[in-house]
């Protein structure tokens, strides 16, 4: 599954992995903003940004082909709009739409692929994201795959019982609703159990990182260099 790759990627050891999540988030924002404000006809700027991105992926030691393949998840959406724009006569914009949204997705993947999600979230929290929101996001990420697996089991069970296509449609609709209700109730009770287990393990209301975040001098240098390079390329 998608997340397993991301989790494995983010455990690597490269100069990019070692940077503080805050520096990486800010550099990502600079990249995205510069990209978003680049005019559609600035092919050179787009090319340099793409090269920088590929260099980043290689430095981080992430599998280049795999990452570029994964970034294609935006294509169904952007190609649809690209084709519509193309047909409406706005060809330059149609191409830029597809290129730029693809580059943006790849950039996000590079950052998420070099930062574990707990580190990313606590970076966001240090930057002022509300604690409750960060906690909820951490819980969602933790239980996403547990509950999805449960849903998959239920789907498999339902499919093996309802193989007959002549099965009444209304009945199947109600069966799906029932499955969701069961999933809801199970999730609800699971949350109770989780909370008690967490209290038993001395949860203080905040997830702890194994190594606490420190914004080092090198993080500042990385951020400044990345931002200065991107802005200079854009202004040229």
């Amino acid at each position: 599954m998608h997340h397993v790759h991301l989790d494995n990627w983010s455990r690597g050891a490269s100069p990019l992995h070692a940077r503080d999540p805050r520096a990486k988030i800010l550099a990502l924002l600079v990249f995205l903003i510069v990209l978003a404000t680049t005019p559609s006809n600035a092919a050179l700027t787009l090319g340099i940004d793409a090269t920088l991105l590929i260099a980043g992926i290689l430095i981080a030691g992430l599998p280049l082909g795999n990452l570029l393949l994964r970034a294609m998840v935006v294509l169904p959406f952007s190609l649809t709009f690209g084709v519509i724009s193309w047909l409406a006569g706005d060809r330059l914009r149609a191409l830029a739409l597809v290129e730029k949204s693809y580059l943006s997705a790849a950039a996000v993947l590079l950052i998420v692929g070099t930062t574990s999600l707990p580190a990313l979230l606590s970076g966001l929290e240090r930057m002022g994201a509300p604690r409750v929101l960060v906690l909820v996001a951490q819980f969602i990420y933790r239980y996403l795959f547990v509950i999805s697996e449960q849903a998959q089991h239920m789907r498999l069970a339902a499919a093996s019982r309802q193989g007959d296509p002549r099965f009444h449609r209304k009945g199947r609709f109600r069966a799906a609703a029932g499955a969701l209700a069961v999933l809801f109730a199970r999730s609800y009770y699971r949350a109770d159990g989780i909370h008690r287990a967490m209290l038993a393990r001395a949860f203080t209301g905040r997830f702890q990182l194994l190594n606490s975040l420190r914004f080092r001098f090198s993080d500042g240098v990385f951020l400044l260099a990345a931002a200065a390079f991107l802005i200079l390329v854009r202004v040229q």
Partner: protein, 300 residues
């Protein structure tokens, strides 16, 4: 409908980010006040449930199937502010981990689906959720929730100048209305099934709310309506509005910083970018400061 990066024009995503950051901060504070820490795992697990619920397909026609979106269901089971918070977290995870929706467009997506979507879905439940029209209220809530977020997304794309021929717009509005009806049917069926399974579960999670949330919900429904009207009127007219709005946003946004030192930059892009950045930093600083201040007030 998660909007990826580079679909919205800069004034659109920047102003929606500027709206969503304080709105999420407000909702998080309210949710934090309504719930104690014991309920936070519940919110997380409910978010994971909404993710997983997309795997269960509902047959809706010949060969097609729909799935739960979940905004109205969450609003009904958890209350508006916690539901909006859970949706925000889901959308952020989808943007970062699954590349479903952009990071700069996060403000827009959060605004459409987590704030407007959840609050519009909550409005009918707030007024009729405890009367005997509860079923219709839930249906209306789910319908409004999907319709409001889809219309807003479409309106934002149109303001940003994405060229879409009229038939495409009308077709997508019709598709949105279809999926909103499906969402209504699914939400009712699931709520009824939960009630049958364990009536206590629904009572335990009765929504509570304040006046501000109701006002915001009305605003969300109205905004959704504006988006719908814009999308269904002539696209030429919309581009005109978009140009005017864009200009208005630009002049309004940069006016306080226009004749500052920012002027010595040669490039007009750099000037605009730094003025915009200064504006965003200002909002960010105010939110951060307000959060600290409120925290200190509460602990004192």
């Amino acid at each position: 409908m998660h909007i990826p990066d580079n679909f919205l024009s800069t004034p659109v995503w920047a102003s929606l980010d500027a709206v969503s950051i304080p709105a999420v901060a407000l909702l998080a504070r309210r949710a934090g006040r309504e719930l104690d820490d014991t309920r936070i795992p519940l919110l997380g697990v409910m978010g994971a449930f909404v993710f997983a619920a997309q795997m269960i397909n509902f047959p809706v026609g010949i060969g097609t199937s729909g799935h739960l979106v979940g905004g109205a269901l969450l609003a009904c089971m958890l209350g508006p502010a916690p539901a909006a918070l859970v949706m925000t977290a889901i959308i952020a995870i989808q943007a970062f981990v699954f590349q479903d929706g952009g990071v700069l467009a996060l403000g827009a997506n959060v605004f459409n689906m987590a704030i407007a979507g959840v609050l519009a879905g909550y409005l009918p439940i707030h007024f009729w959720g405890r009367t005997k029209r509860r079923k219709q209220a839930i249906f209306a809530g789910a319908f409004l929730s999907v319709m409001a977020s889809a219309s807003l997304a479409l309106g934002e794309l149109l303001i940003s100048g994405i060229a879409m021929p009229r038939p495409v717009i009308l077709l997508s509005l019709a598709l949105f209305a279809m999926s909103a009806l499906i969402e209504g049917a699914i939400t009712i069926a699931v709520v009824e099934a939960i009630e049958k399974l364990n009536p206590g579960l629904v009572q335990k999670t009765q929504p509570s709310s304040g006046r501000a949330i109701v006002a915001l919900s009305v605003a969300a429904v109205l905004l959704g309506g504006v988006g719908f009207l814009m999308a269904s009127s002539a696209p030429d007219g919309i581009q005109q509005i978009g140009v005017q709005l864009g200009l208005a946003a630009k002049t309004g946004f940069h006016a306080p910083l226009a004749d500052y030192a920012v002027g010595y930059f040669e490039s007009s892009w750099l000037r605009r970018a730094s003025a915009g950045l200064a504006g965003l930093l200002l909002i960010y600083g105010v939110c951060l400061g307000a959060g600290r201040w409120i925290g200190r007030q509460r602990s004192a």
